[in-house]
Amino acid sequence: MDGYILKMIKIIYQIIVIVFLYVSYCFGSGFNDTVRLYDLLNTSNFRYADFLQYSVNVNVSSTDFYHWRISINDLSDYHENGWVIMIDEHLLKPLIYGEKILNQLALSSMLIDSIEIIDSPELISGNYSDNGIIHIHTVKPKRGFNLYGSVLAGNESGDPGPYKYTDKSSPNIDKIGYDNSFIIEYAFRSGWLRFTLFHQQHTFTDTAIRKRITSTTEDWPGANKIAGSFDFQHYGKRWTHSISSALVSNQPYFLYIDVLGREYPMHLTYFQWSYAGNRRNFFKWYVDYNLNQIRQCDNAIQSLEPYDQHTVDLRTEFVLDNLILPLRIGYQVSGDAYISDDINTSGNIFSQSINLEFFLNRKNSISKLLLSFMYFDKKLALNISLQNKQKIWNRSLLFSQLSMSQRHTSRDQFFQFWRGPGRSLLSEHGFDLPDYPDLYTFYSGDIGIKTTLFSKIKTDIRFFINHQQEHWWFKSLSSESAEDLEPEYALFKFYNGTGAGLIINLNHRFNKVIHQKLSLKIRALEKNSADNFPAIKLVYGINYQPDQNFVLFTNFIYRSRSYRIHYQLNPECEGTEQSAFVAKNILAGGVWGEAGFNKWCWNRRLLVRVAIQNIANKQLQFHPLGMNREMSMIAGIYFWLKGQ
């Protein structure tokens, strides 16, 4: 009888999902989350990638508060799950062992005009992304010569201080690190040139990770990133040309590998060169080359395999705007190859896609149909998205989107690295994977409204739903808490789940000096997944600006409890044998609070930032094996020769 009731509940639930998807179909597309430089400055965030913590559209996790794993679409954050990074339409692919690393760009926070987080399928510059885009727009230089730079430092509390010479001695928890940048640019009538130099240091001295890290290297446990970039843009009457290039070196960079349960040091070199051309916004073409070079560090005790990864993307886009119903046609060829002594990708490295955007209506509402056909390894994957935006009442906008995306697992960078083609590192580490389907499908739908309440509160409310399938492998213990039991490696899972939820954004300006923002995401998730992000995430911020040159801010982020299947070394065991692992899966919820101020001086040429993070000094982790950020102080100075 109980089984019958459960079955009925499941059927009713599925009917609700189908009805919702149908209702979504009748309306249009979502709103993107756009973050501007001033939003970045009015937080305690230290680096541009840190800002993702403040977006409810993105789920993040990290073991070290440096390498952020990102999920824009509620998929597992560990997989390369479809989201892409673009800077001014250039496609960037900084990857380590198949994982995208957002913080390895040669980009200073000072260069950011805005960061657009697109969480629905979108066609941008010939590239179709089914699972989200982080599109960074850089500032356009002012005419003439300009020079700017910044010096930022973070210091985490919890050092022993003088007590280290007493019976109360405790381990040294070092600084968070530095971020220094120097930019020189020259803008002329028809274009500009820009050189950037960047130095970043991040220390891994927190007690939660220090022991693991120091056992793999004799180097000081801190990442040192040195980067340089060159950008050039030329505007003609008919033609626009843009070149972006960057070289990044980070040594030692520590990457936590979930399947192996620990960090590994490496010397990472990332090189990127992109060219974009545009003729009267009718014909656009792009060339993107990315090289990820992983080498062993000189002082490493344990390392993973070194390799070079080359990726090439050729994109074109035609915009037929003069038709009754405009049309955009994109074509993309992508290739990537891993090259090393042991790993050689042979064949199956090129994929092609034809991407189309049909506008169905542009008068009373904007309706569009996005289609993408991806051909890879003699198989075709289809992506369809129907989006609509419609004005209702006076100041309100109703939007909805419905999409279906198919993806080739074997084209996934993460799978390619670990599974092949060529050598399978997973097999070598004792992970035997069964055969699995190469094509899986993701369905998503959104419906929402953007309006103004009480003439002062800008509001957008959105319901979302998605249905997804994904493949996943991980270590599993036969018992969650038994320290003495041998781990049992159940490695491959196929997940099939439905998630739904609500996102609310409120933006309220009390008066000229006080401004507050609230974002809330509630997820009701029925998902048989390895990871579970917080069901509730709430971000609240309030700014007090008595003068245009002074801002006092405070922000709070609430994250509810979440769950991950990961393992921790038993501190009583010396080695890293399997029996030394202890399961630790629950991440407690909590509030992250911060407060600080920004003071502009010298006709807005100089900005002084001071902030305190984690003001309640509570335990805050993004990963069960990861570090806890204690109360910390962030301070920095920015300089613009021509003012900001």
Binding site: G158, P162, A595, V610
Partner: protein, 191 residues
């Protein structure tokens, strides 16, 4: 206990911002320089190991958007314990509110945010001879005018240094202050 200084700072900033519009002086219109000796007045856990052997403070105060802002540095030296003596340099920024309880004798009360740098005089590992740590505190003082520009100030600081075992110190100082009209170039810079 750990949250107390933070709560006090937030409460102070909240009350300051609410009453911020009723400021008396134009922001950055004057600068008051002050210097004088400091002494440790309450024994805490750190004094079980080291004794405060003296200190002095230098600071500059200016009217701000709400109340006054103060930039200061305080030096403290501590006597030897197990062949280790150390110097603490506390650099801070303070937001202060002025209260005039007695006529012409202003009282200041506010919060400080800063960093304490420790320099240890020890023959141990050279790399670990310096350390720095977040320091929050409360500051208060009475200003007694001597001439129109010169005044004496009795100041008290309560600071909490966020080391693993927090260090709490309370200091009392007698400072001599001299007020000037902010030079134009400096006013432009600060604004």
């Amino acid at each position: 206990m750990k949250k107390q200084p933070v709560c006090i700072i937030l409460l102070f900033l909240l009350t300051s911002t609410v009453s911020g519009s009723s400021r008396n002086a134009e922001p950055f219109s004057t600068i008051q320089w002050a210097i004088g000796p400091l002494t440790n007045i309450i024994r805490t856990d750190i004094n079980r190991y080291w004794c405060h052997s003296g200190g002095f403070a230098m600071k500059a105060r200016t009217p701000f958007y709400f109340g006054a802002a103060e930039l200061g540095v305080a030096f403290h030296s501590y006597d030897e314990y197990k062949s280790v003596e150390f110097t603490q340099v506390h650099c801070y920024l303070a937001f202060l509110k002025e209260f005039s309880i007695l006529k012409k004798i202003p009282i200041y009360l506010g919060v400080t945010i800063g960093n304490s740098f420790f320099r240890f005089d020890s023959e141990e590992n050279q790399y670990l001879q310096n350390e720095s740590e977040l320091t929050l505190g409360i500051s208060g003082g009475i200003e007694i005018p001597i001439t129109q520009k010169l005044s004496a100030e009795i100041t008290s600081y309560y600071s909490k240094i966020f080391t693993f075992h927090a260090i709490k110190t309370t200091n009392l100082g007698l400072l001599f202050a001299y007020k000037i009209t902010t030079p134009r170039w400096m006013a432009i810079f600060l604004k």
